[in-house]
C-alpha cells in the first residue's frame, strides 16, 4: 500500500538501503573522514564514533552473488555471511578503515578469520561477547571494550577521552530516542508510515554519519505529522528475527494488505528500545551494562529467553498486533531454537505465529506472498 507521505528525507533513507556508499557517507569520506564497519547489533558503535570515525553496520545490499565467497565457505553457511564476505572480496568494503566483529554467531565469527586473510583493511578487530548476562559478564565485556578502545587509540594515534565517549553516547542515544518516536507513531490505528518504510529508516540509521542522520530524522518526524494514516489494511503484523535489511521483502507482505507495525529484529527495536545510561560514572561501564543487560537480548544469550518472550508479548499488546511472523535465515541455529520456544509461548497466549525461512539476497516474492496471504486469511483479518 502507499502512504500519502511525501518526504524527501524518507526517499534518502530508502536509497540508503540499496547500496553501501550513500551520498552522505561518500561526502564524509571525500572530506577525509574514516569509516569503520561492524557486524552485529552488539557492536559498540559509540566507541567508533568517539574515535572520530563513522560506524556503519556491515550489510550486503545490492549483492547478487556469493561466487567468490563460496570458494572459502560452504553451502551450510548463512547466506548473509556469504554475501557480506563476497562484497569484501569484491572490494566493495575497501573504503573501510577498520572492520569489527564479535563472536555473536558461528557464521559471522568465521567471517573474521576468512576476511582478515583475504580482504585488505588497515584494522581488524574481534571482540569476545559473553553468552550470559550477569554482572560477571558485564565486567568481562567492559574489559573487552577497554581493549577495543585501546586498539583504536593505538591504530589512529589518538586519545579517546571519557568526554568523547559521553558525547558519542549522547549522539547514539538521540538516534535511539528518535527511532522510538517513530515507532510510537506506528502504535496508532492508522500509522503514517509503512513497515517497509520504517525498515528503511532504521537501516539508514546504521549507514551514515549519526549526527546527520539525527538531523534528517527530526525532519522526517515533522513530515510524518502531516501524513494521512494508513487505513485499508488487513492485519497488523510484527516481524521477529535476525538480519532483514531489505524493505522490498516487507513490501511484498504489505502489497497484499499486511501492515507491519513493529518488530524484534537486528535492524529493528533491539537496536534502540533502551538507552545507554548517561548518568553512570564511567562511559565504558555504562556501555558494557547497556549491551549485556539492558539492550533487548538476542537468542545467543543463555538464560534470557523468558525476557525475550516477554519483550515480544509486550510489543504485541502495545502495538495491537494481530499476528507475529518469524523470519529465520536458512542455516541459522540460534533462531531455529528460538522459534521453537516462541511458538509455544505465543500459542499459550493465543497469538497467531507464522514461521518463514529466507535467504539473504533472494526475496522469493511468490512463495512469500502465498504464505503471508494464507496467514492473514487464517488469523481472520480485522478489516
Amino acid at each position: 500500500m502507499q502512504t500519502s507521505l511525501r518526504s524527501k528525507v524518507l526517499d534518502t533513507f530508502i536509497e540508503a538501503t540499496q547500496t553501501i556508499l550513500n551520498p552522505e557517507l561518500k561526502k564524509w569520506i571525500d572530506n577525509g573522514g574514516k569509516v569503520t564497519g561492524f557486524f552485529c547489533s552488539y557492536g559498540p558503535e559509540e566507541i567508533i564514533t568517539a574515535a572520530g570515525m563513522v560506524p556503519i553496520r556491515i550489510r550486503a545490499s545490492g549483492s547478487t552473488s556469493t561466487e567468490l565467497a563460496d570458494a572459502y565457505l560452504s553451502s551450510i553457511n548463512c547466506s548473509f555471511c556469504r554475501h557480506a564476505f563476497n562484497m569484501g572480496l569484491s572490494g566493495k568494503y575497501d573504503f573501510l578503515e577498520g572492520v569489527v566483529w564479535l563472536n555473536n554467531c558461528d557464521h559471522v565469527r568465521r567471517i573474521y578469520d576468512n576476511w582478515k586473510r583475504k580482504v585488505k583493511n588497515p584494522l581488524y578487530h574481534m571482540m569476545s561477547l559473553p553468552k550470559m548476562t550477569t554482572d560477571v559478564q558485564v565486567e568481562w565485556f567492559h574489559d573487552e571494550l577497554v581493549i577495543f578502545k585501546e586498539a583504536l587509540e593505538k591504530h589512529l594515534g589518538i586519545k579517546i577521552t571519557n568526554n568523547k565517549l559521553w558525547e558519542a553516547i549522547k549522539t547514539h542515544n538521540e538516534t535511539r530516542q528518535l527511532l522510538r518516536q517513530l515507532y510510537e507513531l506506528r502504535k496508532k490505528e492508522n500509522p503514517p508510515i509503512t513497515g517497509a518504510e520504517s525498515l528503511a529508516v532504521v537501516v539508514a540509521s546504521t549507514a551514515m554519519p549519526r549526527a546527520e542522520f539525527n538531523q534528517k530524522m527530526k525532519e522526517l518526524l515533522k513530515d510524518l505529522k502531516g501524513a494521512e494514516g494508513i487505513k485499508n489494511y488487513k492485519a497488523r503484523l510484527m516481524l521477529v528475527g535476525s538480519i532483514l535489511d531489505n524493505p522490498n521483502y516487507i513490501k511484498v507482505i504489505e502489497d497484499i494488505g499486511g501492515l507491519v507495525v513493529t518488530d524484534s529484529l537486528c535492524f529493528g527495536t533491539r537496536l534502540f528500545w533502551r538507552d545507554v545510561n548517561e548518568k553512570d560514572k564511567d562511559p565504558l561501564k555504562a556501555l558494557a551494562k547497556y549491551y549485556i543487560q539492558e539492550k533487548p537480548a538476542c537468542p545467543r544469550m543463555f538464560g534470557e529467553q523468558p525476557n525475550r518472550s516477554k519483550f515480544i508479548k509486550d510489543m504485541v499488546k502495545d502495538f495491537k498486533v494481530d499476528g507475529v511472523i518469524g523470519l529465520r535465515m536458512v542455516m541459522c541455529d540460534l533462531w531455529t531454537g528460538e522459534f521453537f520456544m516462541l511458538d509455544k509461548d505465543l500459542k499459550a497466549d493465543g497469538v497467531p505465529f507464522l514461521k518463514l525461512e529466507r535467504e539473504y539476497a533472494v526475496v522469493g516474492a511468490g512463495q512469500l506472498r502465498t504464505r503471508a496471504q494464507a496467514f492473514m486469511e487464517s488469523i481472520g483479518g480485522r478489516r
Binding site: 561466487e67 567468490l68 570458494a71
Partner: protein, 267 residues
C-alpha cells in the same frame, strides 16, 4: 599399437580409438539406461569406422565414467577426473586448469605440467552448474541448448539470476519472462549464473593458466565468454570436440600401459 578409451556419462557415451599416438576415430552416442550396453555400442561404432571387428584387436582398453561405474570389458577402469585431465593435457600441454561440465555433475581440476591432477572439486549433489540445469532452462526459454549460447552472445545487459538451486532458478526465469525481459538477456543470465558457480570452484583449486572447458556444455560459447569475464583470463579452445576429453584421456592412459608393459618385457 592401437588402444581405446571408453567414457560412459549420464547423458552420452564416448569412445576414442588411438593408433600409434594419434586419434583414429571417435564417437559420441546418447546413453542407454544400461552402462554396459552404452559402452559396447560406442566401442563398436568407433571400431566400425576403422573396419575393426572385435575388441581383441585392441591392445588395451581403459574405461571411465561417473562414480564407481566400471566398463566391464575394459582392461582397467580409471577415475573420470584423471581421464579428463589427461585428455585435456594431451590436447593442450600448457593446460593447468580444467573445467568440466557434464550432464549431471561439474568439476574443476588443477594439473601439473605432466597432466596429473593436483587438486579437484566436484559438484555432484545437485543440478546447479550442470547439463541438467541448461536443459531445464532451455525448455523454459524454448530455445534449445544451442539457443542459449547463440542468444546470450547478443546480450548487452544480462539478467541477474540469484538462486543457486536450479529449481528456484527456473521459477526466477519464468518470472523474468513474465516481466517481459528479453530472452537474449535471460539466456545470458543463465550462462552467468553457471559461470559464477564454476568461478567459485576454480577459486577453490586456484586459478592457473591455461584454462580449458571440457564436457558437453563446453560448446556453449556464451558460457565460455561469461566464465572468461569472471576469471579475467582467456579460455583456450581445444583442437578436438571437448566432449571426448574423458575418453581421449582414457585412451592416452591405455597407450601408456602398453608402453610400460613392453618396456618391462624387454628389460
Amino acid at each position: 599399437m592401437i588402444v581405446a578409451g571408453c567414457d560412459i556419462g549420464s547423458a552420452t557415451g564416448k569412445a576414442v580409438i588411438m593408433a600409434d599416438g594419434s586419434i583414429s576415430s571417435y564417437v559420441i552416442i546418447p546413453s542407454t539406461t544400461k552402462p554396459e550396453i552404452t559402452a559396447r555400442k560406442a566401442m563398436e561404432e568407433a571400431m566400425g569406422y576403422l573396419g575393426l571387428c572385435s575388441m581383441e584387436e585392441l591392445d588395451y582398453i581403459v574405461g571411465t565414467g561417473y562414480g564407481r561405474l566400471k566398463v566391464p570389458f575394459a582392461n582397467e577402469n580409471v577415475s573420470e577426473i584423471t581421464c579428463h585431465a589427461r585428455g585435456a593435457h594431451w590436447l593442450l600441454s600448457t593446460v593447468r586448469t580444467v573445467v568440466d561440465i557434464g550432464g549431471q555433475d561439474c568439476k574443476v581440476m588443477s594439473l601439473d605440467d605432466k597432466g596429473n591432477v593436483i587438486e579437484f572439486v566436484m559438484n555432484d549433489r545437485c543440478a546447479a552448474g550442470t547439463g541438467r540445469f541448461f536443459e531445464a532452462m532451455a525448455r523454459v526459454l524454448e530455445c534449445g541448448l544451442e539457443g542459449i549460447s547463440s542468444l546470450s552472445l547478443k546480450s548487452q545487459k544480462p539478467a541477474v539470476i540469484t538462486s543457486q538451486c536450479s529449481v528456484f532458478a527456473e521459477s526466477e526465469v519464468v518470472t523474468l519472462i513474465n516481466e517481459g525481459k528479453d530472452v537474449i538477456d535471460i539466456a545470458a543470465g543463465v550462462n552467468n549464473s553457471v559461470a559464477g558457480r564454476l568461478n567459485s570452484m576454480v577459486r577453490k583449486v586456484g586459478l592457473v593458466e591455461d584454462v580449458v572447458l571440457t564436457g558437453g556444455c563446453a560448446k556453449n560459447e556464451g558460457l565460455a565468454k561469461a566464465l572468461e569475464g569472471k576469471l579475467g583470463v582467456k579460455i583456450k579452445k581445444l583442437a578436438e570436440d571437448p566432449q571426448i576429453a574423458g575418453a581421449l584421456g582414457a585412451a592416452v592412459i591405455a597407450a601408456e600401459r602398453v608402453r610400460k608393459q613392453s618396456e618391462s618385457v624387454h628389460s
